[in-house]
C-alpha cells in the first residue's frame, strides 16, 4: 500500500512537471514547424524570463502569477524583434546559419546573465510556495498544480490561436507551403517573427508558473531545454499534440526513474530516449514523415 502511494505520488508529480515541460516544448516545436530551424536560444530565453520574474518580484514586488500579464507581451515583443531584426537578417534564409545565429544568441543571453547576476542560485519567497493540496493519500504542491492547469490553459489557447484566428491560419499556411503563402499575399517575414514571439511568450508564462517552486541561475535553462529537445523529438518536430503528450510522458519518466534509480541516472534515461528516437524514428511518434 505504501509502495503504491509512493508510485502514485511519483506519477502525479511527473504529470505536474510534465505539463510545464510541455509548455516549454510548445514554443520549440512551433518554431521548428514553421521556420524549420531548432532555436538553440530557447533555453537561454527561458532563463532570461525566469530572471525577469525574479526582478519583477524582488524589485517591484509583483507576484509571479501577476507578472504573467506584464512579461507575456514583453517577451512576445522581444521574440518578435529577435527574429525580425537579428535572426532573419543574419541567417540569409539558410537553415544552418539559423542554427549558428540562435546558438550565438544563446551564448550572449546566458553569459550576459552570468555577468550581471553571477553564478549564484536564487529563488523568490512567496507565502504559498509550500502550500499543498490533499487528494486521497497524496499531498500535491499547490503552485505545481497551478502550473499544471496554467500550462494546459496556455496550450489550449495556443491551439485556438492556430486553429481559429487569421494569424493562426497564416502561420499554418507558411509552415505548409512558404512559396504558396507568399503568393497568397501573406507577409512571411512577419509570420516568422510572430511565431518566434508566440514561442517566447509561452516561455514567459512557463517562467512565471515555474518560479514559485524552482530555483534560478544563469544556466538553469539548459537543463529544461535538453528535456524540451527530447520531448519535441519524441512528439515529432512541429506537432503540438506531440509536444503535450511527450511532455507529460517525459515528466513521468523523469519522476519515476529519479525515484527508482537516483537523479543522475534518471537524466541519462531521458537522453537515451532522445537518442533512440532520433536514431530509430527521427520523425517522432506524432510527426509527419520527413
Amino acid at each position: 500500500m505504501l509502495k503504491l502511494d509512493i508510485f502514485l505520488s511519483g506519477l502525479a508529480n511527473g504529470l505536474l512537471i510534465g505539463a510545464v515541460y510541455a509548455l516549454i516544448s510548445l514554443g520549440l516545436t512551433l518554431v521548428y514547424g514553421v521556420l524549420h530551424i531548432i532555436n538553440f536560444a530557447h533555453g537561454a530565453t527561458l532563463t532570461a524570463a525566469m530572471f525577469a520574474v525574479l526582478i519583477a518580484h524582488s524589485v517591484f514586488g509583483i507576484d509571479p502569477y501577476l507578472a504573467i500579464l506584464v512579461l507575456t507581451p514583453l517577451f512576445f515583443g522581444l521574440g518578435y524583434a529577435a527574429q525580425r531584426f537579428v535572426i532573419s537578417p543574419a541567417s540569409h534564409g539558410d537553415d544552418s546559419n539559423g542554427l549558428l545565429v540562435t546558438l550565438g544568441l544563446s551564448i550572449i543571453i546566458e553569459n550576459a546573465l552570468l555577468a550581471i547576476f553571477r553564478s549564484d542560485t536564487r529563488s523568490i519567497d512567496v507565502a504559498y510556495a509550500f502550500s499543498t493540496v490533499e487528494i486521497g493519500n497524496l499531498f500535491l504542491s499547490l503552485p505545481r498544480m497551478i502550473a499544471f492547469a496554467g500550462a494546459f490553459a496556455v496550450s489550449l489557447a495556443l491551439w485556438l490561436v492556430l486553429a481559429r484566428t487569421d494569424t493562426g491560419k497564416a502561420i499554418r499556411a507558411v509552415a505548409k507551403e512558404k512559396a504558396g503563402a507568399t503568393l497568397a499575399g501573406i507577409d512571411v517575414d512577419h509570420i516568422y517573427a510572430v511565431t518566434f514571439g508566440l514561442s517566447a511568450a509561452c516561455l514567459a508564462i512557463a517562467a512565471c508558473l515555474l518560479m514559485p517552486t524552482f530555483l534560478v541561475n544563469p544556466r538553469i535553462g539548459n537543463s529544461f531545454v535538453l528535456v524540451a529537445f527530447t520531448i519535441v523529438v519524441l512528439g515529432g518536430m512541429g506537432s503540438i499534440a506531440g509536444a503535450l503528450i511527450g511532455g507529460l510522458f517525459i515528466g513521468v519518466v523523469e519522476s519515476l526513474s529519479g525515484l527508482y534509480f537516483g537523479e543522475s541516472l534518471g537524466q541519462i534515461g531521458i537522453f537515451l530516449i532522445f537518442i533512440l528516437v532520433l536514431l530509430l524514428r527521427p520523425t517522432g511518434l506524432f510527426g509527419a514523415r520527413a
Partner: protein
C-alpha cells in the same frame, strides 16, 4: 609542374609554422606561453571540427564528446594503467576516432543531418558528461589528477616552450593533412556532400562512407587536442572534458576563421581567444573586478556578426576585400 604546384600549396603552411615556432623567443612570459599553448590546443580541436563541419557541412554541436574521450583516455591510461603518455597520446587519439566512428555510424545511417545531427551530437556529449561525472573509474565528480613528474619521458617539461612546440607540431601536421584532404578525391566528395548531398549521391558518391570517414578523422584530431589538454593542465573533470564550452570553442574557431579552409581554424581561434582576453581585461579595468562571462558574450556577438557579414569567415572576408581592391581599376 607537379612539384611546383605542391611547393606552392604547402610552403605557406611551413612558413606559418616557422613563424609561430619563433614566437616564444620573443614572447617569453609564462602567461603568454600558457596562452599560446592553450590557443594551439583549441586550434587543434577546431581543426578537427573543420573536417566534418567545414569540409563536410555537417555541423556538430557536441565535439566535446571527442575532446573529452581523448582527454580522459590520456589521464586514465596514465593513472589507472601506468601507460607512458607518449603512447597514451596516440591511443587517446585512436579512441576518439572510435567514438567518432560509433556516433557517426549511428547518426549518418539514420540519415540525420542539419538540426538533427547537431542535436544528436549534443546529446551524446551530454550523456558522456553525466557518465564521467558519476562513474568511479573516471574519478566521478572529483575528477582525475595526473601526478606531476617533470621529465620529458613523462611528456612534462621544465621549459614551457617545449610543450607549446609539441602542440604547434600537431597543429602544423593537421594543417598539412587538411591541405592534402582538400586536394584529394575524398575532399572533393566531402565538399560535394556539403553543397548538395542528394546530388552527390546521385553522382555516385558514397555519402555515408565519405561523412563517416570525415567524422572519424575529425574526432581523432579533436581527441588529440583533449589529450594535450590533460597533459598541459594535469587535471580533468567531467565539465572540463565533456562540457559544452569546448564544443562551442571548436565550432566558433572554425566558423569565425573560415569553415572549409586550411588556415580558418587557426586564424579563427587566435582571433577568438585574443578577443576574449581583450574583452576580459577591458571590463576588468572598467568595473574594477573580473566579470565572468563577458568574453563569451563577445564570442556570441562575433559569431552572429560572422554569420551575417562574413559567411566565409575572416579568411573569406580578407579574400573578398583583396579581390574587390584588385578588381577596381
Amino acid at each position: 609542374m607537379k612539384t611546383a604546384m605542391t611547393q606552392a600549396t604547402y610552403w605557406p603552411i611551413l612558413l606559418v609554422g616557422a613563424a609561430l615556432a619563433l614566437l616564444p623567443l620573443v614572447l617569453t612570459t609564462n602567461a603568454t606561453l600558457n596562452f599560446l599553448t592553450f590557443a594551439m590546443i583549441i586550434t587543434l580541436a577546431a581543426q578537427g571540427w573543420n573536417i566534418i563541419g567545414g569540409f563536410g557541412g555537417q555541423f556538430s554541436f557536441g565535439h566535446a564528446a571527442f575532446f573529452g574521450t581523448g582527454a580522459y583516455a590520456m589521464a586514465l591510461l596514465q593513472v589507472r594503467f601506468a601507460i607512458n603518455p607518449w603512447l597514451a597520446l596516440p591511443l587517446g587519439t585512436a579512441l576518439g576516432g572510435c567514438a567518432g566512428g560509433i556516433i557517426g555510424y549511428l547518426s549518418f545511417r539514420a540519415r540525420l543531418r542539419g538540426s538533427y545531427f547537431a542535436l544528436v551530437t549534443l546529446a551524446f556529449a551530454e550523456i558522456l558528461r553525466i557518465v564521467a561525472n558519476a562513474w568511479g573509474f573516471t574519478g566521478a565528480a572529483a575528477g582525475v589528477l595526473v601526478p606531476l613528474r617533470l621529465d620529458p619521458v613523462q611528456m612534462q617539461f621544465n621549459d614551457r616552450r617545449i610543450f607549446y612546440w609539441l602542440a604547434l607540431l600537431l597543429v602544423v601536421i593537421v594543417l598539412g593533412a587538411s591541405r592534402a584532404i582538400m586536394r584529394s578525391r575524398f575532399g572533393a566528395q566531402l565538399i560535394a556532400v556539403r553543397e548538395n548531398e542528394d546530388a552527390a549521391r546521385a553522382l555516385g558518391v558514397n555519402t555515408l562512407v565519405a561523412k563517416l570517414s570525415a567524422l572519424i578523422i575529425s574526432a581523432a584530431i579533436t581527441a588529440a587536442a583533449g589529450a594535450l589538454y590533460t597533459q598541459k593542465f594535469l587535471y580533468l573533470d567531467a565539465s572540463l572534458a565533456y562540457g559544452s564550452w569546448i564544443s562551442v570553442d571548436a565550432l566558433l574557431g572554425a566558423i569565425i576563421g573560415g569553415p572549409g579552409t586550411v588556415f580558418g581554424p587557426l586564424i579563427g581561434t587566435i582571433v577568438l581567444l585574443g578577443l576574449g582576453e581583450v574583452t576580459k581585461t577591458l571590463f576588468a579595468q572598467l568595473t574594477g573586478g573580473a566579470l565572468p562571462g563577458v568574453d563569451l558574450v563577445a564570442f556570441g556577438v562575433l559569431l552572429i556578426i560572422c554569420v551575417a557579414f562574413a559567411p566565409r569567415g575572416v579568411i573569406g572576408a580578407v579574400r573578398g576585400a583583396v579581390g574587390a581592391r584588385s578588381a577596381t581599376p
